[in-house]
């Protein structure tokens, strides 16, 4: 985790809006974490502390949540952030070979960023598109019925 940085939400109105949507502040935890991550690309400890303060829990407790979800990162990810679904349907349909392929090609393991910073890889839980397994998600778009060849082409194109 990057240390000693301060964090300020650049869009306080959105923070207010999110907080106002829930009767219990703690319920705003996930949307606020997403917002913070959107702003910085990952969650710095300062950001985690800021969110913890907003929802009135201890940052240590916030870490339970942050580390629980695969879509929160506590370090910068690659420019193209590849998320390979490894839940049931995708696993059965060859998610593993996709992971192996990416690992080998970019010399990265789960959770790593390639040296040039262009690509990072994580294994994630169900992406909600099981009928078109295996599914990967690069940054904010899902790519369905993936194969190794398809993957290489997509990466080239973006």
């Amino acid at each position: 985790m990057a240390q000693n940085r301060t964090f300020k939400f650049t869009n306080p109105q959105r923070v207010e809006k999110i907080l106002s949507q829930y009767p219990d502040k703690r319920s705003a935890t996930l949307p606020l974490l997403h917002l913070a991550q959107e702003q910085e690309g990952y969650l710095t400890s300062a950001a985690i502390e800021a969110v913890a303060e907003l929802v009135e829990i201890h940052p240590g407790e916030m870490m339970d949540t942050v580390s629980f979800y695969t879509m929160f990162y506590t370090k910068p990810m690659g420019k193209n952030h590849v998320q390979v679904c490894q839940t049931l349907s995708c696993s059965l349909n060859g998610a593993d070979s996709l992971v192996d392929h990416i690992s080998e090609k970019y010399k990265i393991a789960h959770g790593d960023v390639s040296q040039d910073g262009k690509i990072s890889l994580v294994k994630v839980e169900c992406l909600g598109s099981c009928d078109t397994a295996p599914v990967i998600r690069i940054n904010d778009s899902n790519y369905e019925s993936m194969t190794v060849e398809k993957f290489d082409k997509i990466v080239e194109s973006i």
């Binding site: 985790m1 940052p59 240590g60 407790e61 870490m63 339970d64 580390s67 629980f68």
Partner: protein, 549 residues
């Protein structure tokens, strides 16, 4: 009040308590891991599942509260709930839960410190399967330090989160958190803040398995070799209740002992590891007399003769002053005897003082746990039994008079500043009663060998006025005599008394006769939970529940 039935037992319970609490109160055993009476309920281990009539599935008893049913809906015409804890399905579920908990568990009980007091072991024995069906590879992780005194063996952890909740709810220090999820989850420290708060050692006590280990005790002994003595901590005036574990008169570890009028379920790390200070102290092994600038052993008879010669002269009218230095580290019984010696035998020739009280800062935790700034165990008792204690003794001793001094040892950490050192040096004859070669003892002319704090027996009065039993955890070494007995011999020798107490109980009874606040506060009566002094009607109300674990 709701009426419920657990197995065959009819119980009336308070509305709103949980099934598990009701069972524990009735001493009905429901196995559990994540529940702890001092912590919030998470209901995550699933070990406490029971069958409740009318509910389709098994319920977690730790998180199911008991309410009242309207008359027409009562079960069997009268019950608000019918619980079954021993049916086939409940037992099978326990077996299944255990199978999951043991998936990645190394089953390394032969080298685990918790073996013998492990609920995973006990319940596996009772409810578990004899054979593992797990053919896959176990997830193996290295041990890690969580704090300077706490190691975690991740492989044994069952993720009950008791330790995490402890740091959030009791110590309030938030060092621990649950990292990630599923089979990769583990207990971690948040950022670089290691688990080093004053209560950190408690997580080792409350971990139901052998995952959290004390660096101080790891691989030192086996639980079944240890003898547990119920006693109290003497490191501050709160007087936390403890269990002292020893083998062959060597102490291996201290654990917290429940007492809701004093310390709840926990103790602080000062007390937990404090016993090493006595081990490290240079011991005295016999009464000693000064000779040629050093000390040489002397028999008890010899020592008493010496006392007779030095002190009974003072009885004969020569201008002399007897200085008694009492100490809040001693038991009520010893202080009672000391007060008698000074006030009834030396009378107005004597003056009783004390070394400056040892104080440090007071520590309060939001959960109510408290470490007193008074770092001696029995200041209350000292003031009760030596009511004429002189605060400014250094100023009060009269110049030009021959001074004879009898001092009780004053804790293992006692240092002497120059002023006090010269005070003691100026005594014509200084008798020090101690078990260790403290700076004070080094100045003595005669050293009387008393017990160390772990050998002492008697009562102590904590800062709330609660009288508690200091129960010796190791036996007296050869030549050591109990403090009260030494003082009794002193009285007999110098004051020509014929006191013949044979045990601390008899001193305690006599003490009760003379000090009404202590009347009837016998060892039998105060037991292991203590009792307030007579004139104190209420101490803090008893709260919380007894735990089986």
């Amino acid at each position: 009040m709701p009426l419920i039935k657990i197995d065959d037992k009819e119980i009336e319970v308070e509305k709103g308590i949980t099934v598990l609490q009701a069972a524990i109160d009735e001493r009905i055993e429901i196995p559990y891991y994540c529940y702890h009476p001092a912590l919030s309920i998470v209901g995550s281990c699933r070990m406490c599942l029971v069958e409740i009539e009318g509910m389709p599935k098994l319920q977690v008893s730790c998180n199911t509260t008991i309410g009242e049913l309207p008359p027409e809906r009562k079960k069997d015409g009268k019950y608000d709930m019918i619980v079954r804890t021993q049916t086939e399905i409940v037992k099978r579920e326990r077996e299944n839960v255990l199978e999951f908990l043991l998936l990645n568990h190394p089953l390394d009980c032969p080298v685990c410190d918790q073996a013998g007091e492990c609920y995973l072991q006990d319940y596996s024995y009772k409810y578990g399967r004899a054979h593992s069906r797990f053919l896959e590879e176990k997830r193996v992780r290295k041990n890690e330090y969580l704090g300077s005194n706490v190691i975690i063996n991740h492989n044994r952890c069952i993720m009950c989160t008791r330790c995490v909740r402890f740091t959030r709810e009791i110590s309030g220090t938030n060092e621990l958190f649950v990292q990630a999820r599923g089979d990769v989850s583990k207990i971690s420290i948040f950022e670089d803040k290691s688990l080093d708060n004053m209560l950190a050692g408690n997580v080792i006590d409350i971990c139901p398995v052998g995952a959290l280990l004390s660096t101080d005790y790891i691989h030192k002994n086996r639980f079944w070799n240890l003898e547990a003595k119920k006693s109290i901590c003497t490191d501050c005036s709160v007087g936390c209740n403890i269990l002292v574990y020893s083998q062959n008169n060597r102490i291996y570890r201290l654990n917290a002992r429940e007492n809701h009028n004093v310390n709840g379920y926990f103790i602080c790390d000062i007390g937990r590891y404090g016993f090493h200070r006595y081990e490290d102290a240079e011991k005295v092994t016999s009464p000693l007399i000064r000779s040629d600038g050093g000390f040489k052993p002397i028999s008890w008879e010899g020592a008493l003769k010496e006392i007779y010669e030095q002190f009974s002269m003072s009885m004969s009218g020569e201008k002399q002053q007897i200085v008694g230095i009492a100490s809040p580290f001693h038991t009520n019984e010893s202080l009672f005897m000391f007060g008698r010696l000074m006030n009834n035998i030396f009378k107005d020739k004597s003056i009783i003082g004390k070394l400056p009280f040892i104080e440090d800062y007071e520590i309060h935790f939001d959960s109510g746990f408290r470490i007193s700034k008074d770092r001696s165990p029995n200041r209350k008792g000292l003031l009760d039994f030596c009511p004429n204690l002189e605060d400014e003794i250094l100023q009060k001793v009269k110049a030009g008079e021959v001074r004879l001094c009898y001092a009780l040892d004053d804790g293992v950490d006692r240092k002497l500043d120059e002023e006090w050192e010269s005070f003691f040096k100026s005594q014509r004859f200084l008798v020090v009663q101690t078990y260790a070669m403290t700076p004070l003892a080094k100045l003595a002319h005669l050293i009387l060998l008393g017990p160390s704090p772990m050998e002492r027996e008697g009562t102590m009065t904590n800062d709330q006025g609660r009288i508690q039993w200091l129960n010796p955890s190791v036996s007296l070494t050869n030549k050591t005599r109990p403090d009260w007995e030494i003082i009794m011999e002193f009285m007999n020798t110098v004051g020509k008394r014929e006191l013949k107490y044979t045990s601390v109980n008899e001193v305690n009874l006599e003490m009760g006769e003379r000090f009404p606040d202590y009347r009837g506060r016998t060892f039998f009566k105060i037991g292991y939970q203590g009792l307030p002094k007579k004139n104190i009607t209420t101490s803090r109300p008893s709260e919380g529940r007894q735990a089986i674990q």
